[in-house]
């Protein structure tokens, strides 16, 4: 139930390099994108060098092999989140997955269960990443539907006290993040799912920050759609996933149109293939899907529960060490309850960009800014924060390096 970080790091070639004149790389930006193990890099290379061909199309051996590899990856993804193969759609990233749902709903004709009009409402939260906010703003604008949202409490939790007023009988969609990419807060979903389903709304879960870090089972969660990105789960860039309940994917109109997603085509009209092909227009990101399969297999071998445990104990350690720095303010839960290994903070009035630059000079890679969650920054009343996010290849030494660098930044910018 536990693993050696030192061994894990050996699987990731990037840790063989150094930063800023020979410093050890302390990579604390996995919330933006994760590093890649050889298993993933080699899976992509192998696909290109041995089996590359267009899937589903050719009558030749390479096409058969490519199709097997691609559909095999779909099966791996399905198993990883407790779903069936034909419920998995490959996209280019979670942003596309979420846009897919929003645009496809916008394509629904009157009478379709997803058709929205000015009587309807869409619910989001104040802690959404732009990717799970703006597509819904735009859908609201296109259809005339109202947009409402759950607020965030002082304790950095979703305020569900008014759940019955926010999710009403007019609500058609509730789009919510599983784990905030800024606060680290893991949201409780039972009440939201129960209320949404009570009023006949679907729940769209942004699982970008959860699927890579903990065991996620779509059946247990009870949500209707789920999106995540491969690149945050030690997978390749250029591949994301949308999962949906099969009857909903069936009812949902297509989004991108073109080759491979049709049943028949005339000059003026087209009918659609079955799910998942209906949602995968064009030659797919085959090598990237195969790489994602390798990534999830890699994570499974280490064990998602072990990864979650590791992150919990690392967060425990980090919170304690960081809260001891004078002048620090942690933006997010101060305790280690229902929270992931993402710690955003400000330090006195040193601008996050300057903090980030200083810690970078020490080999510590963090992210600074509003982290694509601008409304959240505004409601936490910070123009920007510095964010450290941990993953399976980080250890307490990395936390120590961060703390030392932050203290160094305080000294550096207080030097006159």
């Amino acid at each position: 139930m536990s693993f050696s970080v030192a061994n894990v790091r050996k699987d990731f070639p990037i840790f063989e390099r150094t930063i800023r004149d020979g410093k050890r790389l302390v990579y604390l930006d996995s919330g933006a994108t994760a590093q890649k193990p050889w298993a993933v890099i080699n899976a992509e290379s192998d696909f290109y060098s041995k089996h590359n061909a267009a899937v589903h199309r050719g009558a030749h051996q390479l096409a058969e092999e490519a199709t097997d590899a691609y559909e095999g990856a779909r099966a791996i993804v399905a198993e990883f989140i407790g779903a069936n193969e034909n419920e998995i759609i490959f996209t280019k990233n979670a942003t596309e997955s979420l846009n897919l749902v929003a645009y496809a709903m916008g394509n629904a004709d009157k009478g379709n269960r997803f058709a929205l009009n000015s009587d309807d409402s869409i619910v989001v939260t104040e802690m959404e990443h732009h990717a799970n906010l703006i597509p819904w703003q735009q859908l609201a604008k296109r259809t005339g539907a109202a947009l409402s949202w759950f607020k965030v409490t002082e304790g950095s939790r979703l305020d569900l006290s008014n759940i019955n007023q926010v999710i009403t009988s007019n609500t058609k969609v509730v789009a919510v993040t599983h784990q905030s990419n800024v606060l680290g807060t893991i949201n409780p979903l039972e009440a939201i799912v129960a209320r949404a389903h009570e009023v006949g709304a679907v729940v769209v879960l942004d699982a970008c920050q959860s699927v890579p870090h903990m065991k996620v089972d779509v059946t247990e969660l009870g949500v209707d759609f789920l999106a995540f990105s491969g690149h945050k789960a030690v997978g390749p860039t250029g591949v994301g996933v949308l999962w949906g309940k099969p009857e909903l994917l069936d009812a949902l109109p297509p989004f991108l149109t073109g080759g491979s997603m049709v049943s028949s085509v005339t000059m003026t009209d087209a009918t659609w293939a079955d799910v998942p092909q209906k949602f995968e227009a064009g030659v797919p990101n085959m090598a990237q899907a195969v790489g994602l399969g390798a990534a999830l297999n890699y994570l499974s071998t280490i064990g998602m529960d072990a990864i979650r445990e590791h992150e919990i104990s690392l967060t425990e350690y980090a919170l304690e060490k960081m809260l001891a720095i004078p002048g620090i303010r942690i933006i997010g839960p101060q305790n280690n309850v229902s929270r992931g290994a993402t710690i955003a903070f400000t330090i006195e009035d040193i601008h996050p960009h300057d903090v980030g630059q200083f810690v970078d000079s020490q080999g510590v890679a963090v992210r600074t800014g509003h982290h694509c969650a601008w409304p959240l920054a505004k409601c936490m009343n910070v123009p920007a924060t510095t964010r450290a996010s941990f993953y399976l290849y980080n250890d307490e030494q990395d936390v120590d390096a961060l703390v030392e660098a932050v203290v160094g930044a305080q000294k550096y910018f207080g030097r006159f």
């Binding site: 589903h56 199309r57 050719g58 009558a59 096409a63 058969e64 199709t67 097997d68 049709v262 049943s263 028949s264 293939a273």
Partner: protein
């Protein structure tokens, strides 16, 4: 030659001399199926009386595998009860899913065991199943009618 395990004599024979091709005007259900990846098409007329398939005719165009498969299907299923037909269809589906590991049950599938080799060619399994999918669909429609 591996190809010969795909193109068995009996398959090519059915392809060249298709059975029950040409649509009968009497049917309890008519379905039209298309293999979207290659454009193969089939129309299938099914007639059921007292739970027995009294006529099964078809028309269409497609590759040797899809055409031979529907031709054999018609040979196999005519005069069978819907339950018997279901057993045969299931057995054929299993054979197609076997990826070359099964020889098929000649008691049930008769000549159609020749399709065992097709299951080694994933790109062609859909061709072999085209007629069977159409039949399944037609059987459901017929039963809906007769209720």
């Amino acid at each position: 030659m591996q190809l010969d395990s795909l193109y068995q004599e009996v398959i090519l024979d059915h392809y060249k001399h298709p059975q029950h091709k040409g649509l009968s005007p009497i049917f309890t259900a008519q379905v039209h199926h298309v293999n979207t990846s290659c454009g193969d098409e089939i129309t299938l007329n099914l007639n059921i009386e007292n739970n027995v398939i009294t006529s099964l005719t078809w028309d269409g165009q497609g590759c040797s595998i899809s055409q031979a498969s529907v031709s054999m299907l018609s040979d196999l299923l005519i005069e069978k009860s819907l339950e018997e037909a279901d057993v045969i269809a299931k057995s054929f589906s299993q054979l197609m899913a076997s990826k070359g590991t099964s020889d098929g049950d000649p008691e049930i599938l008769e000549d159609a065991v020749a399709f065992a080799g097709v299951s080694k060619f994933p790109g062609r399994v859909k061709c072999a199943l085209l007629g069977w999918m159409a039949f399944k669909d037609a059987a459901i429609q017929s039963q809906g009618e007769s209720k």
